[in-house]
Amino acid sequence: MAEIIVTTSGKGGVGKTTTSASIASGIARRGKKVAVIDFDIGLRNLDLIMGCERRVVYDFVNVIQGESTLKQALIKDKRIETLFVLAASQTRDKDALSLEGVRKVLDELIADGFDYIICDSPAGIEKGAHLAMYFADRAIVVVNPEVSSVRDSDRILGLLASKTQRAEKDESKVKEHLLLTRYSPKRVAAGEMMSVDDVKEILGIEVIGVIPESPDVLAASNAGTPVILNAESDVSLAYEDAVARLLGETVPLRFLEEPKKGFFARMFGG
């Protein structure tokens, strides 16, 4: 049975698209058939992070408006056999999406045998974010360890519990996962950032992953590679752990402490 997962946050720029790309790649790498959809109409950038921006011919809006088939619009990833991207339109505005249109596309993906459908939500709590979360079975709530991001995520959790199909039909609620990203143990220790425990206590939901702050993320997105595929990086390992937890495995949290400096680094004050 297919699962629809929304990546959402309320606040902008916290790392939703980075997360969508890496989680989708991580699940697909395990042989599951995955589609990742960009709901950020007018500001598409999932395709950039996935490195397929030059192969976008048709997009999500074209499919909804009947200007292309879903098959024509799905972009097959060049690295992972079972991974597909549905890009957002750069030229339309968000009003081009409709609840019925989104439902039709999701139904077709499910009928096509996709195991996971990842919906990359735009920031905010307006229409685009509403449509991205509406059909979700699960939600990855992406949070940065600072007050305004946590507050917005609380808001989003409220919407997940009330403004989704599951809530409206009184079905079992959307499963909520907390993903803390841009986590800097050093700044947490210095009291400049909230700790995992602080955030967990305020939001009261289970943590699916803690992703460290790292320049590797920018490097990966410039290269058009989901950062999880950069085997050298802590960020990759942290996302891989999150994927494992999402699929039901029990993996301890790591990267919560500042990395111990090696002998040479210490000697040369690096």
Binding site: D152, D154, R155, L157, G158, A161, S162, G204
Partner: protein, 253 residues
């Protein structure tokens, strides 16, 4: 210097938010003649209670959306019969629109403070009026069990228990609002706003397991917490109203 300037620098007015005695009239029909006749009958049966009483008109039970013109006709009929409609009861955006068109405020707190209304109750000379008055003011409050809420109340959400207590078994987030006509109980952290006695019940209280509230209000008397006093922060706390003042104290100590 003109003489008009008073010696003491008294401001021209003092402003205060507090409970106001307002009867709530929940209309079931827009038939102005029928409402007029009923208001006359109520006043005849209990003039002390109903004559020139300030009334808040609640349109929430109507089956059809009325026009501003119909509402104005209804307001006139009520006024002619001897009560004084002064506001519309909070409803949806339609009510907001009507209120604007009619130049009336929209109010959420519409019930008289219990003590005052008790004093206002007619004595033995009009025995029939008491049950009637109770029926008008308190239609669905008889024996009401507290309203239970088991989900966290998240930022931007609002939970309101009408005519009863509210019990939240988990947390109330910053930017969330919990409100009851009775008491508010939060068996978790209270980080948002809690309003007890929302319609003027001065004996209502707020209880919480972990105090971090942004605002606490009882019967319209409120206090905003920019910073939480050290002796209360994170502690089990109750708040109550004594006279004009809100009091806060740790529970179980």
């Amino acid at each position: 210097m003109t003489k008009a300037a008073p010696a003491a620098r008294e401001p021209p007015f003092v402003i205060r938010f507090g409970p106001v005695g307002l009867a709530q009239m929940r209309v079931q029909t827009m038939d102005a003649a029928a409402v007029h006749a009923e208001v006359m009958a109520r006043i005849a049966s209990a003039p002390q209670l109903f004559e020139r009483t300030a009334v808040c008109l609640d349109l929430g039970e109507l089956e059809m959306v009325p026009t501003a013109r119909d509402v104005r006709a209804l307001l006139d009929a009520i006024k002619r019969a001897g009560m004084l409609p002064v506001a519309l009861a909070r409803g949806n955006e339609i009510v907001d629109g009507l209120a604007r068109e009619l130049d009336l405020p929209v109010v959420a707190q519409v019930r008289a403070v219990s003590k005052q209304s008790a004093e206002m109750q007619p004595k033995a000379e009009a025995p029939a009026a008491v049950p009637k008055a109770a029926a008008l003011l308190d239609a669905d409050s008889q024996g009401a069990v507290a309203q239970l809420h088991h989900q966290p109340v998240r930022s931007g959400q609002r939970v309101y228990a009408r005519n009863r207590d509210l019990i939240v078994t988990t947390t109330v987030g910053a930017g969330a609002e919990v409100m009851a006509d009775g008491c508010v109980h939060v068996y978790g952290a209270l980080r948002g706003r809690a309003l007890a006695g929302a319609r003027g019940e001065i004996t209502a209280r707020v209880f919480c397991q972990e105090f971090n509230a942004e605002l606490v209000s009882i019967a319209g008397v409120f206090r905003v917490f920019e910073t939480i006093p050290a002796e209360l922060v994170g502690k089990p706390v109750q708040a109550w109203l004594s006279g004009e003042d809100l009091h806060f104290a740790r529970l179980g100590s």
